[in-house]
Symmetry: C2
Subunit: 499 residues, 2 copies
């Protein structure tokens, strides 16, 4: 473990082809998204990662608020006895718990677990909230840190502590709960992944063995990463009534009878940052979808034989044509400055360094657009705008900078989504045997397979090919027309390797 | 412990005069800010509390961002050995730690503590970030949950787990660090408390014994609650160089020599919600400063002999004159609805209940303005607007609703701040002996006392009067002209009882 990614800074980025895992770590580390921390399995989420998560949060928060969901905060530590009440749930989570045994210098009477998820304590809370059908629906969410003790970790994709939102809702009928869980998946998660993160995936339901511990049904969205692996990037569940029974959550129904409500829970996490890294980045480094980027552009003054102070002043002027009259703040140390105006923020790299070095760092940074200005361009009132996504490079009048930046941002966003869609269009293949599945996943593809829902199949593909069933896809997606299910008792299922 | 505050709902609110502590719990509980949780010392932060904290966060976040501070996330669990490195720090925090001893089913080699504050792990992080003076300043903040195992808790004012921001910055010189720590206190905290929370306090520095564990200097802001007690509501510290030495955080200076940077940390927390409750509320219930309120107004349709659906439709129309064309979402259960338009949000109480019940619940809710509409008012195109803060009540044409609401919101905000200021103006008294201090704090006042800085005095007033030194006030405040310090080696100090 090292806390100093800068030791890597001059080394060449590992290529995706050579070693995908190392490429991922290089991209995320040199893209200044994380550093390893001294806490086992935990990372330092650096400011760029925090800004990505804040942007995702703001979007998701607005969408769930529009559904009437309200935020609250539950305790991070949950009494151990709570986990033991719901049998499937405790079996699923017990191996991953971090346990607090001492507090205030004394051994605790009841041990506490750092929440790996909060169904149990929400149930306790719900019991106090619910009396009559008139109290329904109850629609809550929390933005929280959770902890799952993991043996093998990978920054963002699998860390012990991570950040997420977890929604928990109660409804009068099972139908209403199903509709709500599906609505969260479609109107909140999939909308956010497609439109903001530019990540296309396959939506569907999980098989019985892949469901959340305690769920009756799990809805999922599974994009394909750039190595052909799947990533479970968000889930929405309708839960077993067991939770309601074990925690005695019930209400007086319209018919005057006591009833158990229907329960949904749903979450997406900082894992989505891992999805973004893996999905969009290239051999030059990180690529951030423009709509998620903190900075609209990075200015790269090139000094050559020019006067630094004159060029810097000129660059500030050009920056203000892009974001308006702006305030300057330090970003890190002496040379990197944010300029914040009414139309957003840009970053300026004021280092007295060669253009080559600045452009390499820009490419590593993942920000969507660079604007380079040299002494000669300054004299002619010009600048050069470069798209991180498409590589397009144009020399323009500075008066056009604002509109060209806007154009590059939009084109970059669309291009990333197009690539993500194309990856799925080209790499879902029909398979008629486990051998074909093995060949498909080995080649970095998603296999679509007619499955009789026998769990023995899942054991077999896991052992033989390290592959799992990802979802039984909904209609109207990339899987349409690829495979016709012959036996009406069977389903088409996506099989893939997964993070 | 109960999870059901509704059992209290029909009982009369305890008056402030009768039992201040119970009044506080009643106001916060029936104002639907918290419920007790099954985790020792922890509460459920209900949606209203979450919305207050989100509004405070947004304001503080904007102000610190303007100073160049960037957010990141550190692990919640910190290796125990980290605490032991800085002697004063571990002595201050060891009694309050919650300790994780097991993870993933095994006993841990090194125990982990749930962060009570994050200086130690920030120091580890800083070591990896800092090489040269060119890397300075380093300006970071995190929004996080922290845990301090407390023997006696009081919702928001003192809970085991709470939410806060903690800023941590490194600077090249001690002067720069002092300037930054003071800037955070004045431009971020005091500005937020005065302008947003309408809480006036006394700013100054802590005595040696009241400083943060590991600080060289602690700046504080101490408002007076409505019982005359002080509340330490935010602090900003310049820390001992010990942290830098113990964690080996150093840099190559401009002069080519290795140097230790100067370190500041600063925080404010959900305790500020406790300050808001205690400062502004009255015997009718919670009072939320208008600028912090999620809802601009609460609509109270009164049905009488009128047709419910007709009155409800009319109320929706009036609501839209206030917030614009709006979308309706459930808030809790069947009857409470939020209407969200371009100009904000309002709440509508659609219950078929008596006006008296609705107005009592409005007063408990703490929202700043009510708009009542009955059948007769509907016929005449009128409504009645009521200010929660001032109690003012006017019947107006519905076309005037928007401007009257805006006026009541502004007046309510100003009035709360005026009352908070007046409380300090009237209740800081000069004392010339410990007996006079005892009488002052017994009467719910702040004592201002000429102090020779001998800590024996602090022990004495604590034992005799349960009072502590709150701060050595800066000039230009409520303390001016009250007491003239005779001996130039002495200071004037505020003494009070405190939460």
């Amino acid at each position: 473990m090292t806390n100093d990614n800068r030791n890597l800074a001059k080394a060449k980025l590992t290529s995706r082809e050579t070693d995908y895992n190392q490429w991922y770590l290089d991209v995320a580390g040199r893209g200044e998204l994380f550093e390893y921390s001294p806490t086992p399995g935990c990372i330092y989420f650096l400011p760029k990662a925090a800004s990505l998560w804040e942007a995702i949060k703001a979007n998701v928060n607005g969408l769930i608020e529009a559904k009437g969901v309200r935020n609250l905060y539950m305790p991070a530590l949950i009494p151990m006895s709570f986990f033991e009440r719901e049998k499937e749930h405790v079996e699923g989570f017990a191996p991953e718990l971090a346990i607090v045994t001492h507090g205030g210098g004394k051994e605790l009477e009841e041990k506490l677990a750092f929440r790996p998820t909060s169904e149990t304590i929400f149930c306790d809370f719900f019991r106090g909230q619910l009396q009559s059908y008139r109290d329904l629906p109850l629609l809550y969410n929390q933005w929280a840190n959770v902890l799952r003790w993991e043996k093998r970790t990978r920054p963002f994709l699998r860390t012990a502590e991570f950040h997420w939102q977890e929604g928990h809702t109660l409804h009068e009928t099972s139908e209403e709960a199903y509709e709500f869980a599906v609505g969260i998946m479609n109107d909140v998660y999939i909308k956010t992944f497609r439109e903001l993160l530019a990540i296309e995936g396959i939506s569907g339901v999980k098989s019985e063995s892949e469901r959340f511990a305690g769920a009756e049904k799990t809805f999922t969205y599974e994009p394909m990463m750039s190595n052909g692996w799947a990533l479970q990037i968000c889930t929405s569940h309708v839960l077993w009534r067991g939770f309601m029974e074990q925690f005695d959550v019930k209400y007086l129904g319209r018919d005057g009878k006591i009833a158990y409500p229907a329960y949904t829970s749903w979450g997406m996490s900082t894992r989505s940052i891992g999805g973004l890294i893996s999905s969009h980045s290239d051999d030059k480094g990180l690529v951030i979808p423009p709509r998620l980027s903190e900075y609209r552009a990075v200015f790269l003054p090139v000094y050559g034989s020019g006067e630094k102070s004159t060029i810097d002043a000129y660059v500030r002027n050009v920056a203000e044509t892009v974001v308006g009259k702006s305030v300057e703040t330090p970003v890190k140390g002496e040379y990197f400055r944010a300029l914040t105006g009414a139309d957003g923020k840009v970053l300026v790299d004021f280092r007295d360094a060669r253009f080559g070095e600045k452009i390499t760092d820009f490419e590593l940074s993942g920000y969507p657009v660079a604007i380079a200005v040299g002494p000669k361009e300054m004299e002619e009132g010009l600048c050069t705008v470069i798209s991180r996504v498409t590589g397009e490079k144009v020399q323009i009048k500075t008066s056009e900078a604002k509109s060209v930046v806007a154009k590059f941002l939009e084109e970059g966003q669309n291009e990333l989504r197009r690539r993500s869609r194309e990856r799925l269009e080209k790499n879902v293949v029909a398979c008629r045997s486990t051998e074909e599945i093995g060949a498909a996943v080995e080649a970095g593809k998603f296999a679509l397979y007619e499955w009789d829902k026998n769990p023995a199949f899942e054991v077999e593909i896991k052992e033989k090919y390290k592959a799992t069933t990802r979802c039984i896809p909904n209609k109207g997606q990339f899987t349409d027309g690829i495979l016709t299910v012959k036996n009406p008792d069977n389903v088409a299922v996506i099989v893939a390797r997964a993070f």
